[in-house]
């Protein structure tokens, strides 16, 4: 049974996307990657479901395999 939500689940997704870019504004490339790494850890803790996170990791890998 899939635990990861793949359907839209985020209200005002354009607003979130804009806030995400604002959070990166003014950072160097390395600082920006480091921010993302911290963000992944924060969100993973919030999700708190190992199976959902395993599926999320697999989806992220899979979507990057298209070249």
């Amino acid at each position: 049974m899939a635990k990861l939500i793949r359907e839209p689940n985020l209200p005002d997704q354009d607003g979130f996307y804009a806030e995400l870019l604002v959070a990166h504004r003014g950072l160097s490339e390395a600082e920006s990657h480091a921010l993302d790494a911290r963000l992944v850890l924060i969100l993973a803790n919030h999700v708190g479901d190992r199976e959902a996170l395993r599926e999320a990791l697999a989806l992220a890998r899979e979507a990057g395999a298209d070249g």
């Binding site: 939500i5 793949r6 804009a18 870019l21 979507a63």
Partner: protein, 520 residues
């Protein structure tokens, strides 16, 4: 089929024929879609206007082509909607592709029971022509003056004046209200030295109209990084008369004059349309900008449409936003000129339409950023969304090739309310009335005469200054206006936005809401 431009006749204006003219209630500067629509709106309310335009032909090139449902409803109120829908290409499906695969599809009108379609594509020259012809149905009220160029503006406490150049010399015209509908480059805005602050996006797009026989469906096709246009984006849209709109992202370093040359345009288009024969009808290169005036009302000079705010084009929020300005302003000006409301009502145009412009700018700036990401995080997230879109539905909705124009809900203000939150959100105060089929036609066709007190399954109270309309709700009216409630009373403004609503209301409550809506 190429458009045959007809020159509108120039006539010597009365003051240059020796006929002195007094102060006019309203002078409109600019005979584009916004200025013409405003003249018609005011004429339907009995207000005479003079319309000044420096040119004497309709828009050269298709320019604004996408007219949204709410605009078509407004055009219908002005008496030109059915003609535009009959001529235009009706569409509602948009397909967005990344490289060679579809990543997102939207349907802009998933529900039935609306007179107007979600969108039509119709060249701006046709829209202007139909509006000019409609103006001519009001010969006693609309005075169209072509080749009349405003060269100076004077502002006074309770009126304004313009100096106007014509082929016969210059004259001066005074007006209670001077309405600057003079476009994105507004000469009046410049003459008044007003700051037009905002954002310029460092990107250039080539826009071309081509004439071509093709059997592509009437849909909006958008590509991110298409195989035929190296790493950039592209858009294809169908217009009437076998004219197709193509937009191609060029990059910031492109030289507009070089890119516009046929030897550079033709090979690019050839890659999209294959070996079908085509001819180029019109080409332009533009940059994206989102800007607005800090205020739209400056004493007796009021800015309307592109002169007040500009947005980048993906989302069709420029022309449509301008027509919604007209919708908001027309009845307010008429009420103030008739002495039924004070100038405070014009301030509510400023507040409500700045809110609308901000919503349009927000949406179009976000789409522009998605299409033209800066290197670094913007580019990484954009590419991540496109990569995920083929694998997970949530990411498809994040793909942003333009969020297409929807009318805004006017925010709470002393002019709006009260509300009964038990009634459906779709018709809350501040929102435009959702259309619905009613006996013999459509709801919005019945809401055209000033303020209306609408009783749904109940007798509307009698209130001076408002028409009464009682309807027995069918399923559409029930879903959009009643929800679980057995009956309701709505006060509808002349621009078909909901002013206030109640499950039960007496004449006093409705009369108070009507006074508030007029700023009295």
């Amino acid at each position: 089929m190429r458009y045959a431009y007809e020159e509108f006749p120039y006539e010597t204006p009365p003051p240059l024929r020796g006929a002195a003219e007094g102060r006019k209630p309203a002078v409109i500067v600019g005979a584009g879609p916004v200025g013409l629509a405003l003249a018609i709106d005011l004429a339907t309310r009995g207000v005479p206007t003079v319309v000044l335009d420096d040119n004497n032909v309709v828009s050269v090139g298709s320019r604004a082509i996408c007219w949204a449902k709410r605009t078509l409803e407004i055009f219908d109120r002005l008496g030109v909607g059915e003609r535009m829908v009959a001529k235009g290409v009706t569409w509602k499906i948009g397909r967005t592709r990344h490289r060679d695969r579809e990543v997102f599809q939207f349907d802009l009108l998933p529900e039935d029971g609306h007179k107007a379609p979600a969108f039509i594509n119709l060249q701006q020259y046709h829209v202007e022509q139909y509006l000019v012809e409609r103006c001519r149905d009001f010969p006693a009220l609309i005075d169209l003056r072509f080749r009349n160029r405003v060269t100076a503006v004077e502002r006074f406490g309770a009126h304004a004046a313009a100096t106007v150049e014509t082929p016969d010399g210059a004259y001066r015209i005074e007006a209670d209200w001077l309405l600057a509908c003079d476009g994105a480059g507004s000469p009046i805005r410049r003459m008044m030295g007003l700051d037009f602050a905002g954002e310029l996006f460092e990107e250039r797009f080539l826009i071309a109209d081509i004439e071509m026989k093709a059997d592509f469906p009437p849909e909006r096709w958008f590509w991110f990084e298409p195989p035929f246009h190296n790493g950039q984006s592209a858009l294809l849209h169908k217009q009437p008369d076998d004219i197709w709109r193509i937009d191609l992202q060029l990059g910031w370093d492109a030289d507009p004059d070089v890119e516009k040359r046929p030897e550079n345009v033709i090979p690019r288009i050839r890659k999209i349309v294959g070996d079908r024969p085509f001819e180029i009808d019109w080409v332009s290169v533009y940059t994206f900008q989102c800007r607005r005036l800090e205020r739209f009302v400056h004493g007796r000079v009021v800015f309307v449409g592109d002169s007040a705010h500009i947005v980048s084009p993906f989302g069709a929020r420029g022309g449509n936003g301008g027509i919604q300005d007209v919708d908001n302003l027309g009845w307010k000006l008429a009420a103030v000129l008739a002495g039924e409301a004070g100038p405070a009502l014009i301030e509510s145009y400023d507040a409500e339409r700045r809110h609308g412009a901000d919503e349009n700018i927000l949406n179009s700036a976000r789409a522009t950023k998605f299409m033209t990401p800066a290197e670094g995080a913007e580019r990484r997230y954009r590419d991540a969304v496109l990569a995920l879109a083929g694998h997970a539905p949530f990411a498809r909705r994040m793909v942003n090739s333009g969020r297409l124009s929807l009318p805004c809900a006017y925010p709470p203000s002393p002019f709006i309310g009260p509300d009964d939150p038990a009634l459906p959100v779709a018709s809350a105060p501040g929102r435009p009335c959702p259309d619905a089929p009613v006996e013999g036609g459509w709801l919005l066709e019945r809401l055209r005469n000033g303020f209306t007190v609408l009783g749904l399954g109940a007798e509307p109270p009698e209130v001076p200054g408002a028409a009464r309309l009682r309807l027995e709700p069918g399923p559409h009216l029930r879903a959009r206006y009643l929800g679980e409630a057995p009956s309701a009373i709505y006060l509808i403004r002349p621009d078909q936005h909901v002013a206030a609503r109640w499950r039960e209301a007496g004449a006093e409550a409705v009369a108070a809401a009507l006074r508030a809506a007029k700023g009295a």
